[in-house]
Amino acid sequence: MIYENDEPLSDSDHLLSVLAINDALPGSPLLVAAVEFVAHLSGALFWEQERLLVVSDLHLEKGSSFATRGVLLPPYDTQATLARLATVVAHYDPRIVIALGDSFHDRDAHERLSAADRDALAALQAPRDWIWISGNHDPALPSDLGGVVATEVALGGIVFRHEPTGEVGEIAGHLHPKARVSTRGRSMERRCFASDGERAVMPAFGAYAGGLSIRDRAFARIFSTDFVAHVLGDSRMHAIAASRCC
């Protein structure tokens, strides 16, 4: 077991670190087409030079979306997601925030935002530029939400869009990558960034966003060679070869 500053690792972090190429605390460097980003434990991606923060697949109001169909999930997901977003925004104090699509779980989701959540969102947006990239769940976003709406954004050789195409320099979301690792009969599953150094797929940020295994065929179509899963642990990031995941 690895001890750092006498701080014990959680069970999960211990298990993940067994397979990791590299552990980092709490953000790990992630290279996309020679631009260095920081993959943060929260699931956000930060570009230091541009002071640009990216979060993907917030799926706000997913709980109430299920409720309209009779599944009364706890209605706290939006609050939880925005609170986590506020923490990471406060940490980096970015100049620009990009929400990489599927920010809202359905077309009417923004109408169901509570007043408190609406205010929390507005407070995050106020002192900075805010870009909503549209996704398949939220193809049309209303203008009263603040920020600007775009289908994609290109900046310094990097392109931000919702659905990955596999283009070099692309940062996308949509797939909700998660990694499952197993050793010695124990097994666990966590959200992760997937990247091969030329492009990256971001984990879903939303509290109720599920995941897709990085061993799914969808990822093989984007990454031709072996790629790395930057797995979100409890207290640190773990870079694990995708081929080691199951």
């Binding site: 509570s114 009969g185 599953e189």
Partner: protein
């Protein structure tokens, strides 16, 4: 009335006698006016649909012989819709059904019509039903029947139980004070003859396979007409079945039966069994209950008996006749199990029962019932509250809890009331609750019931794809269905891993949707053992008897030589615990330090204890690295020198084992515990928050399943007192985490901990130490490695 009788006493027929008498002497008041208008007279409810079908057959024979004008029908999940509809309009005199079908019948508009004539309810295998949430569901159905059919009387049929009085309360409405049914106990059954296999082989120190006694077990099967061989887990059944066939030189007809085999395959075994074509059946608790499988003349129980009542019910499977003694042989798989078998035999001879006490009703089941009520006639909350409390498990339900449940069923019960417009039940202008729309009723019908199985995946046998093609190779679809397997087991596998399933060794190929593709493997030995300890931990009662046995040196004479020597060595090298004390041994080994304690409270409680102790040891800077638990002991290893820390008062054992660990430490651990998340998931499903089965086109489970783990995390943070979390915590007290038992144990040993600092491992510690890293070694090699490791450890333990 509660009728208690051992298996084979004919209690089922006895339960129907009042019914047959009433129905055969016209003019019976039960028929209502005019004997032409048929009405339901008796309901029979059993835990197994196979049992209902079986009883119907047994009942029809005497009815036909006596030429009685009585119509008997069954109603189970398999009954065609047309017949179900007919049963509502033209009910039979006697209807045989299950608790789930009962709930469905009650959740309809015509329930008052159907049940108003009801005179008798016969509840079979009541002892088995009341220990689970199905019992809660059944109790709520009874409460409803007491209101719909005031003239109804209940007859409970049960095997012998520890507390018949509390079972008797289940059968009559509770009104303020505790009412109980009359109890009739049938005695006079021949006492069973139970012995322990006196093996000629060396008794293993650890493990659960009892492979050492394989030849002897085979001989027992050979020397008897038909033997039932009980094991505690599915994988043990698989393994033993394979091993028996490997040495089956006489070609004896030996079959396999367990709950995850394909239904068709199980039916085949059952038919062969009834026809007397089998010599042996290796089975799990799937054969524990009622149904008569014909002439079994010997029960062989492999491994730990776990509980005295459980063992007696298994033994009752042999020789279904009252006047002949059932015969059983217990085969302990290791030395500790010898102690357990010894005290279990004593308990059987004294007819001492250890069935668990009656449950208090679960809130998630109540939620399901409330929704069911709203699907029938609209209800007033006040009246339903009074009705529900007539059910024994809910007699002490508070109004606040009840209102919480109503609130949950209506809008989810969230402090943030945002779901009013999506409510599932609503109050009409008279204040009565009714379902908000037909979709809710449909979903209730599809999801009724309290049995939440582990998420299961179908296992299909396909041809192996070429090696080395990686994860992109295509697999031939189709293939033969082998059965079902727990999802969490598959999640631990990597493609290419081999394991035993359906009596053969298979290779895991891929998971597609909800199907696991496997191919036939050429390996002789599976790579991954699917051993998960049994579902049922060692009973508190047997555990206490084992502690007493250890404390009583004279009683050691009744033990095999190998075991007696083992205990004597322990006494001289370390210490054998007194009945009420707990020994903690600490010793160094291979650069690490070990702490081994012996609470004897079952693996589940020990695992919880291990999680909590390692957290505390971490805080005390003892640097724990891991732990392992078995039914009797817990071993923790660490970098810190435990002996020296205790000697220098840097580690206080009384503080370490202080019951206050069940406060904040427990809460913190529950936040991330996978077991807790599984517990929560089943509460979410039973309560109706998440559906198991869907209507219409939403077919694929994986597409519609919402991860309850995400709900758990969010709810825990934002509304920790939510009714579902409270239901899950109540389950954790007795279920997978066994917290109540742990809490009782901590209270018992407080101030009674004896520390033995040792310079090496003790004889008593060898079995639990052998469990370390078990999952890392596989198959036959594992046995060799284990034997080798055992020899090393034993040599060390025997050193003076």
């Amino acid at each position: 009335m509660l009728l208690i009788a051992p298996t084979g006493a004919g209690k089922t027929l006895a339960g129907f006698l009042p019914t047959l008498v009433e129905l055969s002497c016209p003019p019976s008041p039960a028929r209502g006016e005019g004997s032409k208008s048929r009405a339901l007279h008796t309901l029979y409810i059993s835990p197994l649909k196979a049992l209902a079908v079986d009883i119907a057959r047994n009942l029809e024979a005497p009815i036909a012989e006596m030429e009685l004008p009585i119509r008997v029908e069954t109603r189970t999940g398999d009954t065609p819709v047309s017949r179900r509809q007919r049963q509502r309009r033209y009910p039979p005199d006697i209807l045989l059904t299950t608790p789930e079908q009962m709930a469905l019948l009650l959740a309809s508009d015509d329930a008052p019509f159907l049940f108003s004539s009801l005179r008798r309810v016969v509840l079979d295998e009541l002892h088995a039903l009341v220990t689970s949430k199905r019992g809660d569901l059944l109790s709520l159905a009874l409460a409803r029947l007491w209101r719909l059919a005031p003239r109804m009387r209940t007859i409970g049929l049960s095997a012998t139980v520890a507390e018949p009085e509390s079972l008797a309360r289940f059968l009559v409405p509770q009104r303020g004070e505790a009412n109980a049914a009359d109890i009739v106990t049938a005695g006079g059954a021949a006492a069973p003859v139970v012995e322990m296999l006196d093996t000629r082989e060396r008794l293993p120190w650890a493990g659960h396979s009892a492979r050492h006694a394989l030849g002897e077990v085979y001989d027992l099967i050979k020397r008897n007409r038909t033997a039932l061989v009980f094991v505690n887990t599915r994988s043990q059944a698989e393994m033993l079945f394979q091993d028996l066939w490997r040495i089956n030189d006489d070609g004896l007809a030996i079959a396999l039966h367990h709950g995850s085999l394909d239904v068709a395959q199980r039916r085949k075994v059952e038919q062969a069994m009834t026809a007397g074509r089998l010599r042996g059946v290796v089975c799990t608790s799937s054969l524990d209950l009622g149904v008569d499988w014909g002439d079994v003349d010997l029960v062989i129980n492999i491994g730990a008996p776990k509980g005295s009542s459980r063992l007696m019910q298994r033994i009752g499977r042999a020789n279904h006749r009252l006047d002949e003694a059932s015969r059983a042989v217990l085969v302990p798989a290791n030395r500790f199990e010898v102690l357990e078998c010894r005290v279990a035999i004593d308990a059987v001879n004294e007819n001492a029962q250890d069935t668990p006490p009656l449950r208090s009703g679960a809130l998630d089941v109540l939620a399901q019932h409330v929704l069911g009520c709203a699907c029938g006639e609209p209800f007033h909350a006040d009246r339903l509250y009074d009705e529900v409390r007539t059910a024994a498990p809910y007699a002490n339900l508070t109004r606040a809890d009840f209102d919480n449940v109503i609130d949950f069923v209506a809008t989810g019960g969230y402090a943030l009331k945002t779901y009013e417009r999506f409510a599932r039940i609503r109050q009409d202008k008279d204040g009565r609750w009714r379902v908000a729309n037909p979709r809710v009723r449909q979903s209730y019908r599809l999801n009724v019931g309290t049995i939440v199985e582990e998420a299961m995946l179908k296992v299909k046998l396909v041809r192996s794809r070429h090696r080395g093609s990686g994860s992109t190779g295509t697999i031939a679809r189709g293939g033969r269905m082998l059965g079902e397997i727990e999802e969490y087991f598959i999640e631990g596998l990597v493609a290419g891993d081999t394991f035993v399933f359906g009596g053969e060794i298979v290779r895991y190929e891929a998971l597609v949707e909800d199907q696991v593709y496997v191919s036939r493997a050429n390996d002789d030995h599976p790579k991954v053992p699917s051993y998960m300890g049994g579902k049922f931990p060692l009973s508190t009662y047997l555990a206490e008897r084992v502690r007493n046995l250890l404390d009583d040196k004279r009683a050691w004479n009744g033990l095999p030589d190998q075991v007696r020597e083992w205990l004597s060595l322990q006494a001289s090298f370390s210490r054998v615990p007194h009945a009420r004390e707990m020994i903690v041994e600490t010793f160094p080994r291979a650069g690490k330090h070990y702490l081994v304690c012996y609470p004897f409270e079952g693996r589940l409680a020990h695992q919880t204890l291990g999680m909590l102790l390692t957290r505390r040891l971490e805080r005390m800077r003892a640097r724990p690295l891991g732990f392992v638990a078995n039914e009797y002991a817990l071993a923790i290893w660490m970098l810190g020198d435990a002996s020296s820390m205790i000697r220098h008062a840097r580690l206080d054992l009384d503080a370490l084992f202080d019951p206050d660990m069940l406060g904040d430490d427990l809460e913190a651990w529950l936040a991330e515990s996978a077991l807790m998340k599984r517990t929560f998931r089943s509460c979410a499903i039973i309560s109706g928050l998440i559906a198991r089965r869907f209507t219409g086109e939403e077919k694929s489970r994986r597409q519609v399943l919402f991860s309850t783990d995400l709900v758990y995390d969010v709810l825990r943070k934002h509304q920790p007192d939510h009714v579902l979390l409270r239901a899950a915590r109540a389950d954790a007290a007795t279920g997978l985490l066994d917290i109540r038992r742990l809490s009782d144990m901590l209270a018992r040993i407080k101030g009674r901990i004896t520390h033995k600092p040792l310079d090496h491992i003790s004889p008593l510690a060898v079995p639990v130490m052998l469990e370390i890293g078990r999952e890392a070694v596989y198959g036959e090699a594992s046995d060799e490695l284990l034997a080798e490791a055992a020899e090393d450890l034993v040599r060390e333990a025997m050193e003076r």
